[in-house]
């Protein structure tokens, strides 16, 4: 299903359909995350992938254009890049532990420590929140800073000089100085 959706995205020229399909892709992957026990991730993927990012893509389309023009470039170099990367990936998977295996390194080293210790140390039911906000809380601070960066980035890029002025306080200052 996921693969079919992804391939449909490659083939489609209507960008509206592409945006919708990418939303579908996100929803499908959220379902997959649920079956893999990652409920928090599924929740976020559904909200972000199917929600916000689809809205953003549609918003961009409204400001740009709806159809993709076919490109004249040959697909040989991209195919080569993809093939090499794919080969490296497959090579890497050969020595990976079997899916779901309980004695894989990932399940025996740090992971179970969190499960055991958070009962005592943090004492909240959702271990994902415990790790996110406390054990690896600094990553989350970084993540918030990334969101903040994106926010001011978008404001710097596309805010302030369209027909409607929205940075009222800012414009006042400008008139002060000039």
């Amino acid at each position: 299903m996921l693969i079919l959706t992804a391939i449909a995205v490659v083939r489609m020229h209507s960008l509206f359909a592409v945006a919708m399909l990418s939303g579908v892709f996100s929803l499908l992957s959220a379902l997959l995350f649920v079956t893999l026990d990652a409920v928090d991730v599924a929740f976020t993927e559904a909200a972000v992938g199917a929600g916000i990012s689809t809205v953003l893509v549609l918003g961009t389309l409204a400001l740009t254009s709806r159809f993709e023009k076919p490109t004249k470039r040959s697909p040989i170099i991209p195919l080569f890049v993809v093939f090499v990367t794919g080969a490296a990936l497959i090579y890497g998977t050969l020595d990976m532990p079997n899916f779901g295996s309980p004695d894989a390194p990932a399940q025996t080293h740090v992971g179970p420590d969190y499960l055991e210790r958070s009962v005592e140390e943090i004492d909240i039911p959702n271990v994902v929140t415990a790790i996110l906000a406390s054990y690896r809380g600094y990553d989350t601070l970084g993540e918030t800073a990334v969101v903040f960066t994106a926010g001011i980035g978008v404001l710097l890029l596309i805010s302030g000089f369209s027909r409607r002025r929205r940075r009222d306080d800012d414009d006042d200052e400008e008139s002060e100085e000039t």
């Binding site: 026990d37 990652a38 740009t64 779901g100 990932a106 959702n126 990553d139």
Partner: protein, 145 residues
């Protein structure tokens, strides 16, 4: 370091291979397609597939979501899946949407300045600018390289 292509091995690795195929589809869209919006969508697919690879690392057969009962009476017989990849991917999803938002904002600006979002047409326009510059400032190996 040999490995046997047993049925168990193939089934245990099938998911990784499927995710790899998905990743490569996403990467292909980014590299091969000329439409700027479509590149961003491809990037999203690429990243989401990477997330799947991560999340599948944390799954333990017979395990359940890493949320304890409300009364915190943890039953030692219940297997919980590894929560760490989930946390990492939550962070990565947020980073991904931030990049998407920024990329789309850039596309809006590009549309306004170049009046197109097709890479081929932009290249064309830029080549014209470089030619004009070269006419004034002498030949350079400019362009988009």
């Amino acid at each position: 370091m040999g490995f046997e292509l047993t049925q168990e091995y193939i089934l245990g690795h099938m998911n990784y291979w499927l995710f790899s195929v998905l990743m490569m589809t996403g990467l292909y869209i980014v590299v091969a397609k000329g439409n700027l919006v479509k590149k961003i969508v491809g990037l999203n697919i690429f990243q989401t597939s990477v997330f799947m690879l991560y999340i599948s690392t944390g799954k333990i057969t017979g395990g359940t979501a890493p949320i304890f009962p409300l009364d915190m009476e943890v039953d030692p017989n219940v297997i919980y899946s590894n929560p760490l990849p989930h946390v990492l991917i939550l962070t990565a999803i947020v980073v991904g949407i931030s990049t998407t938002a920024l990329g789309l904002a850039l596309i809006v600006r590009i549309q306004e300045e170049f009046n197109t979002i097709e890479e081929d047409e932009i290249l064309e326009i830029e080549r014209a600018i470089v030619l004009a510059e070269n006419a004034i400032h002498g030949d350079s190996m400019g362009g988009r390289a």
